[in-house]
């Protein structure tokens, strides 16, 4: 096919030599951006013309997003707990009852000098009692006891996290004069770590399952949209539309569904948090502590929107791709 000079802008009928259309690279990228803009708005318009079905689809996506997001948040708060636990990977040396403050300090010094110890903190019997009273609000009950029933304690921060090394260290520390007992609750720690791992895997499984759910919801909706515009797809394909061109409006529809579903999911999460926070605060207060339900935060919100939009996009891609494969020449 001959490619003659670029087409003139006049409105004359085709002249001899039947010119074909020629478009510069710059013009093509401008046209590409124009088409994207048009399709983004056009697809949004299509969704707005059918508000109920659009809302229902987005709601289905939102619900599918909320459960894994909630689990993820729950895991986040469990990890908060875990961070505190790292702190309590410390060992506690319970000193003999009746050691004087200077004797206790000497024991702490000796423990500090032991190999594999990163740091020590001495809590004298008096300080321990004071903290105990403050934490439990039991001043009255304890005031009735004459002698301080608490031993002085030394908190030891081991250098290594290795359970075996910690065990060996605990044995050596326990042998120091004036140390009644060196306690290291490894089994408990290990159990908690396993629970954390279990939680992570559960979130992963639910995340994948519900992510697939979003794909199916979007895919099926887009499949119906493709079906209703089958004629249009056929016509534009006949006159030379690329697959990308055919796909574009549907990808935008899918992305809008995903984004809308993500926003709804955020709204549901916020509502749910508000709904739960009052009783949880009340429970926490009754234990004399404060507990804040973890929010999703700006980073988490962004991630949620990104994931839901991406899922919408992929769902649409798969649905249109199936149809495009059907109409290729045989």
């Amino acid at each position: 096919m001959t490619r003659s000079q670029p087409p003139s802008r006049d409105s004359a009928p085709p002249r001899r030599g039947a010119r074909t259309h020629q478009i510069t690279a710059e013009g093509r990228s401008r046209a590409w951006r124009r088409h994207h803009r048009q399709m983004a708005l056009d697809s949004l318009g299509r969704l707005r013309r059918r508000p109920l079905s659009t809302l229902l689809t987005m709601l289905a996506i939102a619900i599918a997003m909320v459960l894994p997001a909630t689990l993820w948040l729950a895991l986040g708060s469990a990890q908060l707990l875990d961070a505190n636990l790292d702190d309590s990977a410390r060992m506690t040396l319970y000193l003999d009852q009746g050691l004087s403050e200077s004797q206790a300090m000497a024991v702490a010094e000796r423990a500090r000098a032991e190999a594999g110890v990163a740091g020590t903190e001495l809590i004298t019997a008096a300080a321990g009692l004071a903290e105990f009273q403050q934490r439990l609000g039991m001043e009255d009950a304890l005031a009735m006891i004459d002698d301080n029933p608490l031993p002085a304690t030394v908190l030891v921060q081991p250098q290594s996290r290795d359970p075996q090394a910690a065990q060996a260290l605990a044995e050596r520390l326990g042998a120091i004069d004036g140390v009644e007992e060196a306690r290291l609750d490894m089994a408990w720690l290990e159990r908690l770590r396993q629970l954390g791992e279990l939680g992570r895997r559960i979130v992963l499984v639910f995340g994948v399952l519900f992510g697939l759910g979003v794909l199916l919801v979007v895919g099926n909706t887009i499949r119906l949209a493709v079906e209703s515009r089958r004629e249009e797809i056929e016509v534009v394909t006949l006159i030379g539309a690329t697959h990308a061109f055919v796909r574009r409006p549907f990808l935008y529809v899918g992305a809008w569904y995903g984004l809308g579903g993500g926003l709804l999911a955020l709204a549901l999460l916020t509502l749910g948090r508000g709904w739960l926070s009052a009783p949880i605060n009340a429970i926490a207060q009754s234990f004399g502590s404060r507990f804040e339900l973890p929010g999703i935060g700006p980073g988490g919100s962004l991630l949620l929107l990104l994931v839901s939009t991406l899922l919408g996009l992929i769902g649409a891609w798969l649905a249109v791709g199936r149809h495009l494969a059907e109409i290729r020449p045989r």
Binding site: R9, H35, V236
Partner: protein, 222 residues
Amino acid sequence: MIEFEHVGKRYGGRFEALADVGFAVERGEMVFLTGHSGAGKSSVLRLLMLLERPSRGRISVAGHDITRLHVSQIPFYRRQIGVVYQNHQLLHDRSIFDNVALPLIIRGAAPQEARNRVHAALDRVGLLHREKALPIELSGGEQQRVGIARAVVARPALLLADEPTGNLDPQLSADIMRLFEDFNRVGTTVLLASHDLALIARLRHRVLRLREGRLVADEEAA
């Protein structure tokens, strides 16, 4: 412009729609493809539009072998040919203007230039005044003219038509044929499938006659 060499097409491994068809159409020619329904006219056009691939043989258009064209290249190939369909293939939820503009939008033409070209094409087929109408508001003959305007709006070097006058009365058919002749006169190669033998005889162009999938006659223009 078009070259068929020993082209065969089977459907489902049994039914032979075309068998050993060979012909050549020169650049700037206007050729009729005729035969009873089922003779293979539509198959020839479908192969040329790359809606189907031949089971055997070679087809080249403008010197390029299209039988091995990669799927991703097909859209760009189709942009080089204008096609007029018996059932028009218009989009019924779009105005006449939008329908004719479609090939230009697919090519990414600038809006101002597209507008000029659409107006020129509609003017050519005498429907400039109906640009805002929907296809449903037009008569069959008018819809066919819209289809023709869409086929030529991007000024293709090759124009294919599948029974373009199939549903029209003789007067309208003659009008439509005159349009094709006009485009042919300015250099467009035209290949028209039609079984309207009376019309074909009057127009005195070259005729390729198919029967049961075989080319049985190649009658030069009178």
